[in-house]
């Protein structure tokens, strides 16, 4: 549903601070734990949730998210179960936008129309599908937009001014600026350079621009948040989950609280970005 996303960004704009967008892997390390993580995110300060769909061959992800996907798949996670996590979350939270993020093949095999119907029913607001560039819009992007589900596109440093209009053409909800060429979990790039890139994209669109790749701490979140409409944190959360697990990959009493503590810190980061911006 696009309205929930638009309202969230409008509210944040009124508040004068960037969004904290948090990614976690659905089903990591098991269904119940990841549902508990998702339920804990909003009160810890997450404004928008990215729900990872595990895939056997995540070609754009670093080791942390690869391993998280493997743990989830090993725990029996499927696309149907990931939708079920969203549905159960939505029963208790009407306001936090949910974006499902992953790769195309599981959706293709599930069936595009059936997936979109089930996603809408589960309360999904947007999709990020890494291996569907604008050239492939007929596959999922156009059908999703027709059903009022946002299709959020990645823009990267290789997306030059000539290509940006094509990338932005069917993008909705927000633009996810990948702050560097590379895989998830890489080092944080220079915030000044990122700020310039965000401005460049804003020259082409009225959509909010959120920045991801490399944001790990509250300080990063503050620095990046000063020049963007949102800050995406993924690998740091997935690593937090991983570090709390037992040797054989089972969740512990520290798994959910660990994520909550991390997200609270990140949230303080984006909230202080407001002060920087206001100065």
């Amino acid at each position: 549903m696009t309205a929930r996303m638009d309202k969230r960004f409008a509210d944040l704009a009124a508040e004068g601070r960037p969004a904290l967008v948090t990614y976690f892997m659905g089903g990591d390390p098991d269904f119940d734990t990841s549902l508990a993580i998702m339920k804990a995110l909003p009160s810890a300060g997450s404004d928008i949730i990215e729900l990872g769909m595990p895939f056997s061959d995540p070609m754009a992800d670093g080791p942390a998210i690869q391993l998280a996907g493997q743990r989830a798949l090993k725990g029996g996670q499927t696309l149907a179960k990931t939708l079920e996590i969203a549905r159960r979350f939505r029963e208790g939270d009407e306001d936090t936008p949910i974006v499902m993020m992953g790769y195309y093949n599981p959706i293709y095999i599930y069936g595009v129309e059936r997936f979109l119907d089930d996603a809408l029913a589960a309360g999904i607001d947007g999709l990020i599908v890494v291996d569907l560039p604008p050239e492939m819009d007929d596959e999922l992007c156009i059908p999703a937009l027709k059903k009022d589900i946002n299709f959020i596109r990645l823009a990267t440093p290789t997306t030059d001014d000539k290509r940006l209009p094509k990338v932005l053409e069917n993008t909705s909800g927000f633009v996810y600026y990948v702050s560097m060429n590379g895989i998830t979990g890489s080092a944080l790039p220079d915030p000044t350079v990122v700020g310039g890139a965000v401005q460049r994209i804003k020259g082409h669109t009225k959509l909010p621009v959120c920045v991801g790749f490399g944001v790990k701490t509250a300080e990063h979140a503050r620095a990046i948040g000063a020049s963007a409409d949102g800050v995406v944190v993924g690998t740091a959360i997935v690593n937090q989950v991983a570090s709390s697990l037992t040797e054989d990959g089972k969740s512990t009493g520290a798994t959910v609280p660990g994520v909550e503590t991390l997200v609270r810190g990140l949230s303080a980061g984006v909230r202080s970005a407001k002060l920087v911006a206001a100065e």
Binding site: P106, E135, V178
Partner: protein, 406 residues
């Protein structure tokens, strides 16, 4: 030869979006899109550039050893008692397989594009060796991603690559085989977009790779057709090749696609049988899906997760296949059949003993299919088979399977 466009041709694909029917396409991360579009532009220019074509031809003749011979396998023919069997001897190429045809073409393209670093993925190590070879020849640093499992079972090729100056990076992610090596190569590429050229080894991946690799490998079929006309005064009745990703197969098939009298058969790795998961018969036992930049037949579960393949031959051990093969299968122009591990092993020995040629385990699958079909065909009929690689790299595997100490 100036062919007029034929609307009924099987050779017009892919379309401008890289599609063969529903197959192919460009399913890649946005970071890679500008690179792929650049590559496509450069490839379109190179295709019609006489200078590029001349250099390719020159290196083909003097570095690879082209044309490779067309060989009448007299004793195998006699032994099987049916159709006349001809081999296209790609195993005599420099580096021992057809892989070098594509590598030479792509390294010239990389040079043209001003790239300064080569990356490649490899399963059995044949493409890795061919990539390391051309990188040495043209003075590029080269990184080869290879599944940790394959590094272990293909030690001689790992050593060759290192001798040639390449860095071999074992991939432990996933299950450490070819598909994981390809994932890792894509991750490298996405990180090093400015200077790096990704030299894909098979006719798969995002557009324009399937078309480009096919065109570089089509020299096999073009030569074979000419040589067959010289030897027999007519075209073969049947063309057979083994299919993993499918580059040697598309290379020999493509020039024959519009010759109605020529039946074409691709041989997939049936592994230990199609009932379980221990095979690599993507077309025979898989379903269409999206992986590594293209839509094609894949081995996958009901949730769209990719399965691991199995084959006696590491070179066929890939859970997908080039998109043009998927299309040729769907429209019925090419028939795809599985051959089991034990049949390939048997064929390996038959050819070695009867013709004094030690074939690689990949084309041994094609030989097994020849052994099945030739006796049922008339003596006036002709089979052309692509003998795509030599078996030196496989002697340890075979020795182990036959219980012979080495």
């Amino acid at each position: 030869m100036n062919e007029t466009p034929n609307p009924n041709s099987f050779k017009t694909g892919p379309d401008e979006d890289g599609r063969f029917g529903i197959f192919g396409g460009r399913f890649v991360a946005e970071t890679l899109m500008p690179l792929i579009l650049d590559l496509q532009d450069e490839w379109n220019k190179a295709k019609t550039d006489p200078e590029f074509q001349a250099e390719l031809k020159h290196l083909g003749a003097h570095y690879i050893g082209r044309p490779s011979p067309l060989y009448f396998a007299e004793r195998l023919t006699e032994h099987l008692g049916g159709a006349k069997i001809y081999f296209k001897r790609e195993e005599l190429n420099h580096t021992g397989s057809h892989k070098i045809n594509n590598c030479i073409g792509q390294i010239l393209l990389a040079k043209r594009m001003g790239k300064t670093r080569i990356i490649a993925e490899t399963g059995a190590g044949q493409h890795g060796v061919a990539s390391a070879t051309v990188a040495a020849r043209f003075g590029f640093p080269c990184v080869v991603y290879m599944g940790a499992t394959d590094v272990e079972r293909q030690a001689p090729n790992v050593f060759r690559m290192k001798l040639l100056g390449a860095e071999v990076k074992p991939v432990t992610a996933g299950s450490g085989t070819l598909k994981d090596a390809m994932n890792e190569a894509l991750r490298d590429w996405v990180t090093n977009v400015d200077d790096t050229y990704y030299l894909i080894g098979t006719a798969a991946g995002p557009h324009p790779y399937p078309e480009m690799v096919r065109d570089f490998q089509s020299v096999i079929g073009i030569e074979a057709k000419q040589q067959m006309l010289e030897a027999e005064g007519r075209l073969p009745d049947l063309v057979i090749a083994a299919v993993g990703g499918g580059s040697n197969a598309i290379g020999i098939f493509h020039p024959f696609l519009d010759d109605e009298s020529v039946k074409i058969v691709g041989v997939e790795a049936g592994g230990k049988g199609l009932e379980g998961d221990e095979h690599c018969a993507s077309i025979t036992a898989g379903s269409p899906g999206v992986l590594h930049g293209n839509r094609t037949y894949l081995l996958q579960d009901n949730d769209g997760q990719i399965k691991e393949g199995h084959s006696i031959s590491a070179g066929l051990d890939y859970p997908g296949i080039g998109p043009e093969h998927s299309w040729l299968a769907d429209i019925g122009r090419v028939e795809y059949v599985p051959i089991m591990d034990h049949e390939a092993l048997e064929a390996f020995q038959v050819l070695t003993r009867l013709e004094g040629i030690i074939p690689a385990l990949e084309p041994s699958h094609a030989i097994a299919e020849v052994i099945k079909r030739a006796p049922k065909m008339g003596k006036d009929e002709i089979i052309l088979m692509n003998l795509s690689g030599r078996g030196d790299k496989d002697i340890f595997t075979v020795g182990k399977l036959l219980g012979m100490g080495l």
